[in-house]
Symmetry: C2
Subunit: 383 residues, 2 copies
């Protein structure tokens, strides 16, 4: 499964020694062709890690022969020397694998503001190359984990072709993508423009609507590589749907494994005048710390939902807002609705529906609760 | 001190029985004249509590003879009946005190979405009126507390006149004012327009730059009442400065008593192209949950500061950003700076300086850390 579910790809995940823990920390994904088409979506954070700046340049060419991914260090805020480290990584991979460094994408994840141990990373690329395999997808997915408790893979089958992928991410999940690295592969025969269209459409409705903790990373990278090895040119709609399915699956896995979370919150905004309004309201609810605490406490505190809606510029009349929590309309027309004691919040998934009574558009945003475990994980992370 | 520091005001704080705890929950502040000039600033949340909607109307007249404040219930999201409750509160106060209900402001704080127990609140107004005193300011400040651990008062002396005030607030502190009720009084002889100018200028630089948890309340109310009892017309500048001093003092007290906080974080953004840029960057830093956790863990994690800056639209070059934590420039030119081990974070106050290297403007935003205690307080609040 994972990035080797589609034909024409090999992958590996190994211990390069970047992490002090001795856990796997370097992954390689190689497109064996015949095609090398690729598209990418990156963080919208203006403070971008060196590998993001490098890979953005690589993707402009629309061709990627291999991706080098490391955990154990983000290589963000490391200045010109950090950028040189990324460049050296691509050069080393080109030397080992053959090919052109300008077609090798690099992705990093871990602590910001620390240089990578290049004396370990560079030899690791050779080691990984020696272990490349058409069954290496799982190992690659494992090697990109940071505080993830499980590795994340997904796959969708088309008519004679396949889309597969892997993701890491836990915390710093927010619009403009999460602290996440995602590599998707397909053996469908799709050119770079077709990959770009499918990927942008998919991420807009999946990864971009995941908001674990409101924080936007410096390193988010989502790549889609096509080998064309199936020899099949898919219908654009079917291909886009398969990419969206894999992205949606991975996005849900990210939320389900977010740092310290005890609840996954599905926020559906309906009755919006525009989709943008629905997304803005959904994100405002998703980022409200007081509400996130209330959900953690299994308290159907709809007043905090209304407070969050009230901070947006979306079209609505406060006296026509309705809110349901797990199917119980606890707020009707901006005031007290059904009995809040009817809301059963024992399960991990909590569904909030906010009806703006202002139109017919809707959107779904996924978030997490705010917990003492989140505080603990993130107050001790770099020390 | 408090609202009775200035001449021409009486106040009271009593137990009306609104709170189940039996703690004081009703305050009355009466302007005994000769003037009844007033100004007010309210939450910018579009979901406004009934007392906010009422008091906004009252303030349009520029005259306030009395303010009724209750804790134990926000009277927000309570529909038309909730508005009738606020109206009845003002009518009752007018009946007891004499005067016009249209000149009586009302402020409420507590849980959203619950009707107030009017059978307790209305008799409480009579009880409070019987206890009005020129020394009642402290008791009034105590009666408006919710999860505040201490009551908050401040005073500034002018040349022959005084500005005093009280505040409550703990949590839900964010731009557009905090979950706070603030009543300021002065015996200076200033008309409503003069009060309005001084109050808006002061709140813009004080309460509006406090951001404890990113959440904006439905009930925020800041009132400034002038009795003219000193017989002195102050210089506009001196008066504005006194109002700003009292607001600043109260705002700092709010941050110092925010729910569950263990650190007060002073975020100073310098080198900004515009003051708006400085404020936008300051707020983005103030609201970054990952940074707030790091500060709680006494971890000078400047990478999270840069991540937060990167999400703004302010003018800056990522490679020219500098960040100091408690005076140590841990980030220079977007990369590693002085040794982070030099940063001493043992004390409650933590100072972050973010230099955008893009101009000469600056702003200070105050925030709190994110703690397990915050999660605990806000996950158990309404259950």
């Amino acid at each position: 499964m994972s990035v080797t579910a589609a034909k024409g790809f090999t992958a590996a995940g190994i211990v390069a020694g970047i992490k002090e823990s001795g856990n796997p920390d370097l992954a390689l994904v190689v497109n064996e062709g015949p095609r090398l088409a690729a598209a990418g979506v990156f963080t919208s954070n203006r403070v971008k890690a060196a590998p993001v700046r490098w890979s953005e340049q690589v993707l402009k060419g629309g061709q990627v022969s291999a991706v080098v991914l490391n955990s154990g260090g983000a290589n963000a805020c490391t200045g010109p020397l950090g950028f040189q480290d990324t460049h050296a990584t691509a050069e080393k991979a080109a030397e080992v694998l053959g090919g052109n460094a300008g077609e090798i994408a690099v992705a990093s994840t871990g602590l910001i503001g620390v240089r990578l141990p290049m004396d370990k990373l560079l030899p690791g690329i050779g080691k990984a190359a020696a272990e490349l395999s058409a069954h290496g997808g799982e190992k690659a997915a494992i090697a990109i984990k940071t505080t993830d408790t499980v590795h994340k893979t997904a796959v969708a089958q088309g008519d004679g072709w396949t889309v597969g992928g892997m993701a890491k991410g836990a915390g710093m999940l927010a619009p403009g993508l999460a602290t996440m690295l995602v590599v998707l592969t397909t053996d469908a025969d799709v050119d770079a423009a077709g990959l770009d269209a499918a990927l942008r459409s998919a991420t807009r409705q999946t990864f971009d609507r995941v908001d674990s903790d409101g924080c936007m990373s410096t390193n988010d990278t989502v790549l889609l590589l096509a080998s064309g090895a199936s020899g099949t040119v898919p219908a654009a709609d079917a291909f886009a749907e398969a990419v969206r399915t894999v992205c949606d699956d991975l996005a849900r896995q990210l939320i389900g494994d977010a740092e310290g979370a005890s609840k996954d919150i599905r926020i559906e905004v309906v009755g919006a005048a525009t989709e943008d309004d629905a997304v803005e309201v959904g994100r405002s609810i998703a980022r409200n710390n007081l509400l996130k605490c209330a959900i953690h406490g299994e308290d159907p505190n709809w007043g905090r939902v209304l407070s969050a809606i009230g901070t947006t510029s979306a079209a609505f009349d406060p006296d026509r807002l309705n809110v349901a929590i797990n199917g119980v309309w606890v707020c009707k027309e901006g005031s007290v609705g059904e009995d809040r004691d009817l809301v059963d919040m024992r399960y991990r998934e909590v569904r909030i529906t906010a009806d703006l009574s202002a139109g017919t558009e809707s959107a779904v945003i996924w978030a997490n609760d705010l917990t003492a475990d989140y505080v603990h994980e993130n107050s001790a992370y770099s020390s």
